[in-house]
Amino acid sequence: MATQDDDNVARIPDPDVEPSPAELAHARRFAELVDKTLSGRTPPAMSADDRALLEVATVIRATHGAVELAASKQRAAVEDALRQAIGASPAGGGSVTPIARAHTRMRRAPWIVAGTTTLVAAAAIAMLWLRTSGGAGRGNPVARRAVPEEWTSRPADSLVGPIARDHAGDAGARIDAIFADRLDGFRTRRLARKGKP
């Protein structure tokens, strides 16, 4: 883990050399950082030098299998990855017909356009008949479909869950999850409305 400040690192004193007060304080601070890390409570912020030393310590521990990813974090990483990737890929198999091809179709069979529009109008009339003649159930008010919850702006509590003390400062990870979740809903809603906001 070579760092730029390695150039400033003087020769490391021998074990028996008396430490200066500054070195003693720094060593004590580092010892507390190691303590917290070993109990899973790494502070989110520290000096660059301390961070570099802690990374070295983590590399040594990880190589000896002492640092494992908790099962819950593993699951969360997999879920996040799938949510992010599935949200990014286009839903459904709808194909876009090039405009030129559509025009060609129209030239060859102009009656198709008129016929389709007539069918749509006929369907609207049929729906109207069904409603007024009680086809959908006499006396029952038409229940307009409520908007799915995932399309709505809402508190993020159910997504995030209780925040453990060790993760009090992990706002960065949580905003990623909130953004990915809301993006899902935003895209699905747009697709359902065929691209209209």
Partner: protein, 208 residues
């Protein structure tokens, strides 16, 4: 003549291939069992030993898995596990992290020369073997560096970071006060970092 029963590895490979094909046909959720299987070795043997920071390693793992799902259509099945492909994505992501940080740019440059841990394609070696090889390679590097330290520094690292004994126990075993042990560990890790960093700048020798 009755055919030989498939070995466990071959069966697992077959299942993995089917899942990959399903994902490539559009059912991205088919990637879930694959990601769940390889998340831990990717984190423990590929990402964390190269980053050293658990929080960054978790983020890189998430990015790696997301990229793998997004780009699964570009993957071509070659009769061996998908793990080497996932591993390469992870290494590239780690490299990007180091490049972004001026602090560890030298390490990023050293990683460019890193020789990939490859298994013999003909042997259908599974991900476990690759992960074990990688773990051994990392440990060899760590052990080599440890040998360059003074004995008391080596002991401080072994007791505190590998055996994870408390500071009090470590101090007692070395026959020093807790304050003195703190200084020993501090100097030991600084010395390790210095020697390890020097080693990272050496060109790869081709061993894994």
């Amino acid at each position: 003549m009755a055919s030989e029963p498939a070995t466990t590895v071959e069966l697992e490979l077959e299942v993995e291939q089917r899942l990959v094909e399903e994902a490539q046909q559009g059912n991205l959720d088919a990637m879930r069992p694959i990601l769940e299987r390889y998340a831990a070795p990717l984190y423990g043997t590929v990402i964390l030993p190269r980053l050293g920071d658990a929080a960054s390693a978790e983020e890189v793992l998430r990015d790696t898995l997301a990229t793998a799902v997004e780009k699964i259509r570009r993957f071509t099945w070659q009769g061996k596990t998908i793990y080497p492909w996932l591993r390469q994505i992870a290494i590239n992501k780690v490299y990007d992290v180091h490049r972004q940080s001026k602090r560890s740019r030298r390490l990023a440059d050293a990683m460019v020369h890193e020789v990939a841990v490859e298994s013999d394609p003909a042997s259908h070696a599974d991900a476990q073997l690759i992960a074990d090889q990688e773990r051994r390679a990392h440990r060899d590097r760590i052990d080599e560096t440890m040998q360059q330290l003074q004995e008391r520094y080596r002991s401080a690292i072994e007791l505190r970071l590998i055996q994870e004994l408390s500071r009090e126990d470590c101090a007692r075993r070395l026959g020093v006060t807790i304050g003195t042990f703190d200084v020993l560990l501090f100097r030991a890790v600084r010395a390790f970092r210095k020697h390890f960093g020097e080693r990272a700048e050496l060109p790869a020798t081709g061993d894994t």
